[in-house]
Every structure is written in C-alpha cells, then in structure tokens.
Symmetry: D2
Amino acid sequence: MIERYENPKISHIFSEENKTNLWQDLELAAIKALVQLERVDPRIYYEIQEIWLSHPIDIPWWKERDEEIHHDLNAFLDERYRWLPIELHQFVHQDLTSFDTEETPFIIMLKQALQIIQDLSIELDRTIKALAIKYRYTIMNGRTHGQEAELQSFGARCLAWCQDVNVALNFLSQAEANLKYSKLSGAIGKYGSIDPEVEKITLEYFDLLPFYGATQIMPRIFYAPIAQALSNLVTVIDKVSTDIRLAARSGLPLMQEPFKKKQKGSSAMPHKKNPIRTEQDEGMARLARGYMSMTNENIKTWEERAIEQSCVERVAWPDLFHTTARALTVLNMVLKGLRVYPDNMLEEVHRSRGVYASSEIKEFLKKRLKLDNEDVYRIVQLAAFNVFEPEPGRITIREQIPNSFEESLTLLNRFKASPATKIVSLADFIPAAQLRFNDELDITPEQIEKYNKYLKKLFQSESIKQSWAELFTPAFLLKNEKILYQNILGV
Amino acid sequence: MIERYENPKISHIFSEENKTNLWQDLELAAIKALVQLERVDPRIYYEIQEIWLSHPIDIPWWKERDEEIHHDLNAFLDERYRWLPIELHQFVHQDLTSFDTEETPFIIMLKQALQIIQDLSIELDRTIKALAIKYRYTIMNGRTHGQEAELQSFGARCLAWCQDVNVALNFLSQAEANLKYSKLSGAIGKYGSIDPEVEKITLEYFDLLPFYGATQIMPRIFYAPIAQALSNLVTVIDKVSTDIRLAARSGLPLMQEPFKKKQKGSSAMPHKKNPIRTEQDEGMARLARGYMSMTNENIKTWEERAIEQSCVERVAWPDLFHTTARALTVLNMVLKGLRVYPDNMLEEVHRSRGVYASSEIKEFLKKRLKLDNEDVYRIVQLAAFNVFEPEPGRITIREQIPNSFEESLTLLNRFKASPATKIVSLADFIPAAQLRFNDELDITPEQIEKYNKYLKKLFQSESIKQSWAELFTPAFLLKNEKILYQNILGV
Amino acid sequence: MIERYENPKISHIFSEENKTNLWQDLELAAIKALVQLERVDPRIYYEIQEIWLSHPIDIPWWKERDEEIHHDLNAFLDERYRWLPIELHQFVHQDLTSFDTEETPFIIMLKQALQIIQDLSIELDRTIKALAIKYRYTIMNGRTHGQEAELQSFGARCLAWCQDVNVALNFLSQAEANLKYSKLSGAIGKYGSIDPEVEKITLEYFDLLPFYGATQIMPRIFYAPIAQALSNLVTVIDKVSTDIRLAARSGLPLMQEPFKKKQKGSSAMPHKKNPIRTEQDEGMARLARGYMSMTNENIKTWEERAIEQSCVERVAWPDLFHTTARALTVLNMVLKGLRVYPDNMLEEVHRSRGVYASSEIKEFLKKRLKLDNEDVYRIVQLAAFNVFEPEPGRITIREQIPNSFEESLTLLNRFKASPATKIVSLADFIPAAQLRFNDELDITPEQIEKYNKYLKKLFQSESIKQSWAELFTPAFLLKNEKILYQNILGV
Amino acid sequence: MIERYENPKISHIFSEENKTNLWQDLELAAIKALVQLERVDPRIYYEIQEIWLSHPIDIPWWKERDEEIHHDLNAFLDERYRWLPIELHQFVHQDLTSFDTEETPFIIMLKQALQIIQDLSIELDRTIKALAIKYRYTIMNGRTHGQEAELQSFGARCLAWCQDVNVALNFLSQAEANLKYSKLSGAIGKYGSIDPEVEKITLEYFDLLPFYGATQIMPRIFYAPIAQALSNLVTVIDKVSTDIRLAARSGLPLMQEPFKKKQKGSSAMPHKKNPIRTEQDEGMARLARGYMSMTNENIKTWEERAIEQSCVERVAWPDLFHTTARALTVLNMVLKGLRVYPDNMLEEVHRSRGVYASSEIKEFLKKRLKLDNEDVYRIVQLAAFNVFEPEPGRITIREQIPNSFEESLTLLNRFKASPATKIVSLADFIPAAQLRFNDELDITPEQIEKYNKYLKKLFQSESIKQSWAELFTPAFLLKNEKILYQNILGV
C-alpha cells in the first residue's frame, strides 16, 4: 500500500520480519511437539531455540538465497541452518513441506490484522453511539429516495448506522471464528511422512486444530469469507460516509466533516469546504471490493495445489487490511469531529410543510372518513401537492426560459426582489378543507369537492382538531424511537 | 432476463429461432462458397436452399434431439438432414466443426443487438442535446464535492452529460469495429480439412474477414471489450441518473423525473414523488458490471478450446444487452419528461451568496492587491466564511441540544417564529471591507485588520467597483460556455 | 435464467405467484397480530382471510395495475382490496409501508431456495462419500503444480473434495443462520405509526425476530454474505470439476465423465468424448461470481433507502440460485456416473519411477548419512533427474528439429520403431549408487562421487535394503490416510 | 506494489518525483501559453523557469505542507512559490483549478507506463514468433476440451498464442489512442476564468487536444478502457501460461519452464520441477481483474466531480501496471527458456492411435460409402472406441477394486509385469474392417456387420488404400498451416 494510506501496525504484521519470525515459531513448535511425544531430547529443542533466538534472521541473506533457489521457505531454512551444527539439522523441518511451515503463520497474521480492525471498529462504534445519545431528541427529516419522508431524530439515524456497522462486524467475527484450523500434514496433506500427532500438538501451541481434508495447503475457501466480510464492512462505511456527504450538500447543510483551520478546499475556489474524507471512503470501498474479488478466485486451484494463490495473497491481503483500516480511521475521525447543524435540520423540517406526518394523517383519516382507501390516499396526496405549489410570481419565473445571459440576470434580480414564499403546513391546510385542482394528478374537480366536504365536516369537531394537531408533534411521531434506544443501547 | 426489464427486440435477436436461422444461413453460405469455387454444382445449392427454406426449423424436434445426443449443433444438423435426400447430405457441413457454424451467427447476433443499442443511444443523444439548447441560458450552481462551486448554465451541464455518453458510445463503436473477423477453419483452427478459400468466401457473404490464428473458436478477447464498453456505457448512464437524483432531492428540487398522474410514490406516505427510474439505472449499472465480469474470464480457455465460455455467453450476453437497453430507455424517458425548475435554480444561486465567483474574485484581487497569493486566498476564504455565519438567534438554536421531544417542538416553533436569514453576497461584502474573525480559520485579528485596510483602499475607486460588480454576472462568468456549444453542438 | 439451466423448483420459488401469496400471508399475519393484541376483532381477520383465500390473486390484473401506478405492492393491495367490502379496507396494510410487506417474503423466498441448495448438496455429499469409500485403496499419484507428488489413494482425494464442499456449505449455513431478522417498522423504520409489538408478533409467525436499526428496509449487509457463500460454493464445485477435467486428459485418462450411448462429442471429430459437464461448471462459477458482485454493491444505499437494489435483487437472486443448483446437479451427475480407470492410475504410478516416495527417502537418508541437509536433498534430486533421463535414441529424436513435414513423418516412424523406454525406479536406482552427472543441476562430478561412496556404503546392509524397499509400498506411504477416514467419515 | 513484483521503471513513473516534475512542466507550459498569446512578458516565463529548474522540488517539505492544508496540489504550489519573488506569484496557476494541473501529468504518466508495457510486449511477441518458426514442423496433438483433437505443429499453436497477444495489444493501442484529450478549463470545466485559447496552446505542448465537455476533471470513461485492455492482456498471458502448465503435466511433459541449476522445487520432495512462473501468471490475472474492477467504478462521480476516484487511481494504476509488466516479463522469460520435448509430442501422437485424422477420414468415407451421415459418423466413432479398448489383462486390473493397501501393491506389481499395450492405429484398423461391439455405444451388432461389409468392400481397392494412408500424414493434414504462417508472419 502506498504510504499515504498505510497503517503502520498492518505493515508490521505483514512485514518480512514478522512473517519469518512466525515461521521460526512454527519450526520450533514442531520440534517441541516431538519433544512432547518423547521422540526428541528436550535439550535438542532448547539448544536450537537458544541459537536461533540469539541470531535474528538475516533478511537480506535470506532474500539473496531466495533469488538463487527460487523458493522462499527453503531459503529461510538455509538461513536458519547456517547457525546450527550439522547434527542438529535433521531435527528441523522434519517431514514437513513448505506450506506446513507457512500456513499457520499466515493464519496468525490474518488474526493479528483482524485484531487491528476490531480495535478500530470498537472506537468507531463508541463514536457513533455517543452521537446517537447526544442527538436523541434532535429532529430531522428522514429521507427515502432522497426525498423527505417521515420525521426522525438524528440520534435514531445514528442508531441505524451503528447497527449497520455492527452487523458487518458480526459477520467478520463469524468469518474469523472459522480460522480455527490449520495443517501440518505433509506434501499433499495425506500425512505421508508426518505423524498426525505432531500436527495436533504443534497446532495446539497456536490454539488451532488440524483440518482433516487439507491438501498441500488449507482450502482457500476458509479465507475468502474474511475478505468478503472486510469488503462488506468497507461498503457499509461507504454507506455511512455517503449519508454524511448527502447531508453536507450546500444550500442547507445539516452536518459537515471537520475542516482544519489552515485547510484549503480548492486551489481555485477559496470558499470550498469539501467532504473529501467521506468521499475517500467511497474510493476505499472500490478498492476493497477489488481486493476481495482477487481472493475469491483463490478458492480454485489444481488438484493437491498449485501456486497461483501465492502472489495474490502477498499483495491483496495486506492491501485489503490497509484499505479497511483507512476507511475505519477516516470515518471515525469524521464522526468525532462532525459539525452538526440542528437549526438547519429544523429549517428543513419546517420547509417540508408537515408531509413528514403524511403516513399518520392518512391512517387517521382512513379511520374517520367513510371513504375507501384510494380516496383517502388521494386526499393526502393532493393536499401534499397543493402545499408545494409555487406562488404565481414564482411560476412566471419558472416558465420563462431565458434566451440570453442578460435575461438570466434579469430573472435572478427579479427572483431576489420577490417576496419569500409563504410556508403552509398540512397541519393547517387539510383542516381548512381547501383542496384544489393540481394538474399533476388525475383527480377531478368533482372528487375534490367531495373530499373538501368530507374534510370540512370532520374538522368541525374540536376534539378532532386537537388530535390532529398532535399528529405533527415530535413527541407523538417519534414516541417509538425509544424502542430502538432500549434494544440497541440499552438506555 | 425477467419480463419486467426485457427488450423485445433483444429477445428476438437471441431467440432460438433467430439463432438457428443464422446457423442455416451459414451452412448455406458455406455450400455457396463451394459453388463459387466450382467444386459443387449450383443446382445442388439451390435444391438444398429451396428444401430448407420451405421447411422451417422444427425447434421442439431440435431440442429433443439435443437432449439425446448432448450437442446442439449436431442436433440442428440432424434436424436439417431430415428434409434432404441422402445424396445431398455430404454437401452439408462439409469439413466444418460446430463452431465454424456457430461463430459467425454469434457475431451477427452481437451486431444486431449493438444496432438496437445504437438506435436507443441516438434517441438519448437527441434528447440530451435538445435539453442543452433549451436551457442554454438557464443558470444554476455547478457543484463539486456536492458543494456549490462556480456558476454554469443547466445547458452546459447537459453538454457534459452528452459528451460522457458520446465518449462511451465512441468506445463501443470502436469495440464493435473489431468485430470484423470470424473463422471457418475446422476442428482446431488449422484448416485440417477445410480449404482457407472456402472460409474466405463464406465470410465475405457476412461482410467478415478470416481471423488467422483462431483455434476451434475465435479468441474471446474479441468480445470482452464489447461487454466492457456496454458496461461502461451503463455506468455513464448511472452517472447522469445520479446527477438527476441529486438535483431532485427535496428541499429545493432543481428538477424531477416525470411522475404519472395516477402514480403512487409510496404505500405509506402519499406525498412522495420518488426518483425510482434514475435509481433503477444505478441498479442496471450494478447488473451490467456483473455481466461484464463474467465475460472477462471467458478470455481464458484451455489449449485449442474448452467449453466453459458457452453457458456464460448464452446467459450473460442477452442479459447484458437487455440491461443496457433498459438503462438507455429509462434515462431517455426520464430526460424527455424531465421537470425543470429554473426558479429553484435561481434560489440556489441567490442563497449561495456570490461564492460562485470566488475563483474570479481571487484572481481579480491577486492582480490588484500587493499581497502574496496566500493572503489573497485567505481574504476570499474568510469573506466566504463570514457571509455564511448564522445570525445570533440561529446560533442559539444551533447550540441548544434538546433533551426531550417537547424541547424539540419548542425549538421548532422558535425557529418558525424567527425572522428569515438575511442574505449578503460577496459582491457587497468584500467591497465593504468588513471582514471579521471566524473561529473556523486560523487568521488572526491583525491579519484581518490588514486585509480590511487593503480592501477599503482598493474599493475607493469607482471603476474598480464597477469591474467588481461585473464579476458576478452570468454574462461575464459564462461567456466561454459558447465554446462548448460551438465545439459540441456546432451552434 | 434461460430454460436450459433453469431449476423448476427455484423458478417456482421466485415466481410472481409464490411471491404474491407470501405477501398475502404477511398482510394476514399483520392483522392476526392485531387480533392477538386485542385491537381487532378476530371475526374481521377470519372474514378477510376467507375472502382472500377463496379469490386467488389475479396476476394479470395486478400487473396491469402496476403499469398504471408504477408501484407493484400498491397494485397488489389494490387487487386484494377489490374483493373486500369497504369497511374492511382499513384493517389491511395498516401503518405499514411497502417494504414491511415485502421484506419478510423476500427472506422466506431466500430460505426456500436455500433449502433446494441444501438438498442438492446433501446428494452431492453422499455421492462423494460413496466414491471415497469405494476407492479407499485405489492408489494414484497426488499432484501438486500439476506434477506427480506423493502417492495417495483416489479415495483420499475424494475426501479432500468432500471437505472442500462441506466447508463451503458450512459457511452457507452460517450465512443463512443470520437470516433470522426482519422488519415491520414503517416508512423509515422508526415505528412512526406502527406499534413495535405488532412487528414482533407478526414476525413470530414466520419464525423471525425484529431487527432494531432497520431503515425502510433491512440493511442489505444481511444478504450479501448469502450470495458470497453461494458463489464460493460454486467456485468449489468448479475446483472439483477441474480436478476431474485434468484427470480426464487424453493420453492416460484416470477418470471420465459419463458419456451417453448416443452422445456425440464433436460434429467434426467422431472420436471425441469431451468433459463438457465439468467444463460447464467452470462457466457456472463465472456466472456465480458475477451475480455475487451485483449483490455486494446493494449494501450501499442513500439514507433511509433508495430503490437501486430492487432490480438487482429481482434478477440476480433467482439467477444465482439457478446457477448454483445447476452446478450442483451437474457435478453430482458426473460423479455418480464417473468412469474410473484404476489401471491407468497404476500406469501413472509406475511411470513416475518411485519419486512419489522422494520425501520419505530424503528423511530416511538424512537420518542415516552423515551429510548435511543440502547434500541429502541434492542426492535425491539428482537421482530423480537421472531416472528420467531419456535414452540416447530418444535424445536424438528430441534434438532433431524437423524442417519439413516429411521429416516430421520420418521422425514419427523412427519413434514408433524405437524400443519402449525402460523404467527404472528410485527404489532400485539409489541403492545401486550410480548417480551420474546431469547438466540441469549444478552438482559437480566430485560431489557425485562422494555421494555414490556414501550410498554404496549404506546399502551394504541388508536390513537397510529391506527398510528401504518398504518406503515405496502403499501400506507404508498411505498408512495415515486412515486418520482422514476416521475424522471425516468416522470409518 | 510489493518489492517482489515491482517493475522499477513503472515505480519511477508513478513516483512523487516524476509526478511533481510533470506538474511543474504543466504550470510552466500554462505560463508559456500566455506568453505565446502575448499576455505575459517572455522574460517572466524565463525567470520563473530558471528559478524552478535550479531549485528542485523539496518533496519532504511538500508532504509536510500537505499534512497541514490537506490539499496536495496547493501544497505543491506553496512549495514552488517559496522560491519566487512575490511579484511573480500572480503568473503561476493563473485561473487554474488543481485538476487543470494534475490531469495532463496523469495522462502523461499513463502514456509513459504504457510505453513500458509496449516494450515488454514487443519482446514477448518476438519470443513467440521465434518459437513459431523454430517449431514449424514439430508435430503434436491439438487438444480441445483437454482431449486429443487433430494434429498440428507446435509452431502453429505458437501462432495462435501470438495472435491472442497481438489482439490484446491492438485493443490496448486503441484505448491508448483515445488518450489524446485533456483539460485546462477551470473549476467546473466551463472556462469561468480561463481562456480556452490558453488550454489549447498549453495542451499542444503535450501533444494533446482540449476535451470539450469535461467538468472539473476529465470523464473517467477515458481511462477505464485502458485498465480493461491491460486486464484483458494479462488474462491472455494467463491463457498462454496455462497452456504451458497443461503441456508440462508430468507423465509425458511436452514442454517445461526453465529450471535453474540450483533451484529447489519443494522443501519436502526433491524431485519436483514445478511450473511456478506460469502459475504466478494466473495469480497476476486475478490481480489485474481486481484492479480493473476498481477503476471501472471511477466512471461514476457526482455532478461536476467528487474525489472518490483519487485514492483508487493512486493505488490501482501503478499496481495494475506493475502486475501487467510482471506477467509479461515472466511469460517472456518462460518462453525464452522453454524446454520443448518433441519426442514426447511424438509419443503422444503415436499413442493417440490415429484419431487425429478422424475428421478427415469421416469426410473421406462420407464421399465413398453409400451411407448417410449418421452411419459414417458412427463407423468412425466405433472404430475410435475400439482401438482404445484395453486388453483383457488390463480390464481385470481395472475392474478389481482393492480392499487393502496390500492388494493395491499386488495390483501394481501385476501391472508392472503385464506386457505393454499394443497400439493399433485407425490407419490400419478401419481398412481391416473388424469393427466390433462396444458397450459404450448404442450400435447394434447388425449395424456393425453392415459397416464391416461396406468397409471391406471399399478397401479392396489399392488406390483407396493409398489415399487412405495419406490421410494420416503430417504433410497432408497440416498442408494448410502455411496459410497461417503467410498471414501472420509473412513467411
């Protein structure tokens, strides 16, 4: 991974130093297993261990040897043999094939890297939950299809994010839980020379179990789900990031990424505050899905193994982990410093003219008007269309398509001079029973007249008016959000 | 493809009827080639042709036979042989292998389907261009990173869409232009029994050239670029669709998909007008990329061929074409019926407080103030931040996080009661030389004082004021859009 | 999916009939929940149920209505309302949004389809296990990198296939186990009008739990892992299929797909028996990965939902299930009718000249020769290269590159006339201590002399000779395969 | 890319040094354009140029600055401004937005990297062509579906490889040819402040044309085809590599990768010579397709641009080029050192018992026997099945499934002792008219009797016998390969 997006802990885990140290751990463990089985004298084990621990692996020597013999594990063994007296050679890598040495370290490296992801995720989870609590009563429009839908608290949206991330993490944990097997079963996995007992004991030192049915390598079907779960996690992060980008759109931004005091948004336009971090998370998701697709194909190999998977794993795994770590770090940073504008959320709610209660008022009317479903639906639909009809002055501006930039300017100036639009809410509009024809809908004047009659009659009752007004209050509309808080946060 | 998204013309092209008719065309052409080479008596050809044309292929018989012998081309031949006297059998499929018969029809089917795409694209192109012309002087904010950037006409945005689509189509045409080769070179493509002359002449009837270097089949590298170009085209359509969805976001929609008079946006919320068509185009892009990835892998096969590619091609090609046709049809329909709200565009421009000229005013000041780049940049940046500072009443609302839904309601009511925000443009703000401290930026009061001094001095000049005012006019800012119109539309 | 690859059970599950029936089940269950909560009179429920069950959904009417209002769930409701007296309308779809009705049926359909996959998998598992038992003592060469490696039984290879498939199925089961949640939480998932109790009870009827944190829809992160697990399963099937294709390569086929008595392998070459079924499974894997990639992206949507995912799910899910079912069916059919040639396996073993024991003999010599690891390795390597050196007559043929096809024929005839190569095994070659120089290896004559001296000395001992001979026996080499049988099959 | 697979030239191209130098070139060119338009004094240009060229970009300073202002291009400008007197600042980056500076260098970097790929491809092409010429008359079995098909020369297979690679390269060249446009059109691409003339002249210095219709960036649809063509090329390389792996399978290897004199094939099994390089090329293809899929999605962005594509491009482009370069280098190295075993090819031909002529003999008999197509097909099919029937001793071995490893050993020894199979070719078998019943085919004894009668009669003629014998000669079967040599190599 390029330096810009690198996570140093991930880099360390996949470093040659960490890898070869783990290989050495495995080789030592395999000897120790023979000691435990009383086939090798413990002193042999301690002698080898002492020599090796006091002579760190010479990475450059190893790599040079690999260049010569084209086999990195053999080259590693040659490096290690250098320090041992000849009579100890036979105890090293006894009955093993290269991948018996490499498989377990690979699994350990995956687990180490998953731990980093876990840690970052816990931080992110904490950040989101803090937002959910802070903004439990801060109201905003929910949006489906990018359109104002029902009312919700910003806190409740955070809870949905929180659950999205946690489902993704839960799947990741499940995939990780399957990393409990490994193999030390010789060249083609049939224990030709190696004793299954040695495998069992050696793996126990690493908290792993033998997988019966391996070939020369573990079937790659064990690892693909890890990459898939990571890629899904990054896609979820992109989802949350995109919600922030959408909310940050200029005009009436509801929230914004942190912007540093010396930051520059654009070389050309000094006014810009761009959501570059949340946008980057979309890029990270593209990268993650690409890396995942690489590892998917590794499931397939020929017979007892071929080595196509090796280069893919050397490249795709660290980069996928870097990508995931980066995405988590970026989102956490954004959410930690998130600037939230509750006043703009209120403005949005206000401007939405009470349609956020359209579902409730439809149900309300359904129970109280002797009309069929279709009619009730059309009443609310027409009312909603009515309250958004532009004023006549505005219609003129809308319909006059300019033929020059001078005309554009004239229109702009006319717009500036025209009075602000009056905002009428459904809360007031429907009881007034003044539904009117709208040419976007196929509802006839006769129907409308009938509807108004019904409405007029209904809203004569004071108690109806009162219940009606209550339909538009946050306390009524969001009364059940507490279920979410109880079940997700236990508060 | 499921009926819902099916294009009937595409279905016909990939139908068994069309395919087997094309196979028959090929078999006849191969005999005709032998006639031309004077190796077969023309009467033989005409006899076979007459018999076949008067006995349409019996599709059910063919399929039953295929079930039995597990070879669809052989089954087809068996069906055709049925109608011929034995002595004519030897002239049919002479020296050919199955794929000699199938390859050319496959190419023809691709070309036929590409023609459908072409036709739909021409319609789409026409629709976009009409919009570009209609809205040549209708101004709106350009947006980068979802944030208001410079001013542009809506027509100019249409031109960018138009070019995006046309670049995609251009790549598609290039990929199609490579479909000029085919093969009739026998079992492993080495002309074991077939004469290269027969191949050449037969292909000529289909306007194709022999590809020297085929194996039993044409290398699939010829077809992958078609799928890639189609998938890229659908991704471009998704890009344009997404721009529309973004512009349609409620609050201040700039444009909207057509909504039918009896349409229902939601079963729960009668007020909804959702951009379901443009959203569907995003789904289409996901499908298209999936189908493309299937055909990419077909490039690889074993030695002189294996048949993994066959089932992929039977499934992915028609479905990719259906997907592309659907995406084109949907976008064209949306754009044809697009509801555009120029008044809302003006409102957006107005509310953006003149920052759409920030780049120009930075350059203007750079040339006139004796300050370095950094200082000029910071002046414009600070001014832009200043004009967006909320009023004190609003700040109070912003900073008071409610602790109950009752408090939320109180805040909402307070918001409704508070006076509308006054909108000050950079056009007036900067000449007033009243820059003030903003805690989002690291600019000290001393610097600000200096900046104001410079500005005050500069704007004493009347001529400066006048040039300054002009910086904010569409005529000035968009003067160069004509270049785009000239070069793209020739108008 | 095209008819050719369609599974009728899968088609039924995703049919409009099954889907709308499940929608009806959900609507009825939601009313029943209200009955259980004593908010609706049970007679109401029974009345609606009776009317609906006696009037099957009119699919064509529904589709026509959908065309008109562009909302399939609303159209479905309209169809159902038709049969109910007006006063019952209000009890239907009360407080629900469309996806409250659609989500649970979608999950049920996934589960139904997964059941089909499960059933097919059990059959496949049974078939593979029967092979493993039948061929427990049938020996063959294991192959790594396509090269002869150690000896194994064909049964043991079947065990590896078996485990591969079962790991894939295990992951699929885990993904399925996560399908335990659904939602009935209203328009944006915040229970605006719907009572959480209604959700809970309704879902109980379907053995599901409420997911707290849904938006208008369940987060798609729940479904992506299903597609990934299916795609991984098909890739595993491709892996097994490829092993069969490799084993079926002509020259010395070890096994072959069943070939029907009237089947034709090729229209041109009557001798052909092609592994078209196992090749098709590679195509199926390409399709499956494509469908998976489509659903991966569905994880991302805007805010409380947009509808991009819908068309993808309508198309990709059934087709992915068809693809998986097809791949399973094909492989099962191939394995059930698999023709196995144990004699050819023996021929292959024989021709491999004892190198299948190279690992064991290396360890054997390591313990008995006073040489370092490197030397012992090189002894076995050189011996292996020596036994494969061609005879002089053959070298002549090898090195004479023909300059015309006449020369080619001469060489072919010379080859036919030359005596068969004598096959010498390492079992005999190494004890003879006749290692000789090989120009492919960098081992000097001096070294070789030394090696021969060591070997000669070692093999003077009769007991050594005897132990040595035993190294090459199946009973010795495969003694540990029983561990696999015990752990995988319990036999 | 990790060091192991890195191409140093590619690394240099995508280095920060090369990139920032190209940025500087662009900035200078933009000033030079103003000079050419006589808007800036040439001395200004030369002064800036001289200062900059004598003060190389301080990469660490630049990166530190970027950390601070979160904008790499602005940080670069700040670094460059440092060296200029204030009065020169205004001439730098005048009217430009960041991507006006970055886009062209990005294109140049792509072109530079494509040149490396081109160079490597020319080498590969040369290597393959040399093989094609060398082995023009070296015969081998063609293989379809992994099964022996018709005869071909190894040279002719090389020609198919050659064409595969060249088609891939041709598509790459076409994609590259579209890299002829760039942009310098300001913040949202509408030439708000920049003069289109400046763009035109600046781009001319880089041999590029303005793209009318860009937004803040060039549409990414221009670059996706490059990645697709690269990925297709690597998939083609994988195809060729796989053919080599298949031919190298032990038993009767037809060719092998070079194996170094000190190389070790396996840590466990000293006899191994594994095709690790060609296997690596399959891994490279998996990587390449993953990188491609990342860039595909970059086509989509919001409105006038967002920055998701940036991180993807920073990572995927260099890595895709490294991957492609690696794959080309590896394959070229393999083919240059390829060990070819023509004697084994002959053995394979010999063992295939003349079926390589089955297509020709079918056509031969079709013209000479008064039988319908079906009958002639079945004659050749039956004969082919007959000549492969195992001898009785072998059938016994085949059918006796051992029940212990001791029995396995007995069978193996019995096999070794049994006489070698006699090889009978169709060339002799069919004229002998001794077709016999084969239970794999549904051909009755009566039919067979009839067939033998026909054959016996036909082969009474000496001239028929002679023509028949000729059908099996390379000179006859491969006579048309010269067409391929003429058309592909012009020889």
